[in-house]
């Protein structure tokens, strides 16, 4: 894979990640779990919260490598 193509893939992937994590119709309080009758309404929100940190880790861990691993899988 040439440098240029690899860079293109990286940039469009970053663009996609930004788009998919920050935009799109967004539902509030979508998951309700109860523990001892206490409503943990914002588990939905927490899902959003953790997903971004994972994205950051993914990004730091050589995006391109993850990409080519996925293609090979």
């Amino acid at each position: 894979m040439s440098d240029r193509v690899a860079r293109e893939k990286e940039v469009t992937l970053l663009d996609l990640v930004d788009r998919v994590l920050n935009k799109g119709v967004f539902l509030w309080g979508e998951v309700t779990l109860s523990v001892a009758d206490v409503d943990l309404v914002y588990l939905g929100l927490k899902v959003m919260l953790t997903s971004v940190e994972t994205a950051e880790q993914m990004r730091d861990k050589h995006l391109l490598q993850a990409d080519s691993d996925e293609k090979a899988a």
């Binding site: 860079r7 293109e8 469009t12 663009d15 990004r59």
Partner: protein, 121 residues
């Protein structure tokens, strides 16, 4: 809608630059700055919370500072008020710098530009 060929793997329509690394760098920067997101993984909790709290404080501080500066500019503050406000904001500035340094956060890490609130800045 017959646009099957439009939705493909090829997402780069046009770039004016042969070297896309500048874009990659900026996109990574924007991805970092999400103060409303907190890391619920225990190790990262403090850092995530610090980011959120400091972002909010910075936001309010800058807003208030801006208010004061504008009133000074408009001539609606007395000399004494100007001096007192200035001293207060200066101390706040130093304090915030210390806090940011303590958590290893820079201004770029606390994104104060995103969203509709950004317009208030």
């Amino acid at each position: 809608m017959s646009s099957i060929d439009l939705l493909t793997e090829e997402k780069l329509l046009c770039a004016s630059d042969d070297d896309l690394s500048a874009f990659a760098a900026e996109l990574e920067q924007t991805a970092k700055c999400l103060p409303k997101r907190i890391n619920t993984d225990p190790e990262g909790v403090e850092q995530g919370l610090a980011k959120l709290v400091l972002t909010l404080i910075e936001f309010i501080r800058r807003l208030m500072e801006r208010q004061a500066v504008r009133r000074m500019d408009a001539g609606s503050l007395s000399d004494e008020e100007i001096e007192r406000l200035g001293q207060t904001f200066m101390k706040l500035d130093i304090r915030m710098a210390e806090l940011k340094e303590a958590f290893g956060l820079k201004d770029e890490d606390l994104n104060l530009a995103l969203g509709p609130l950004g317009d208030l800045m």
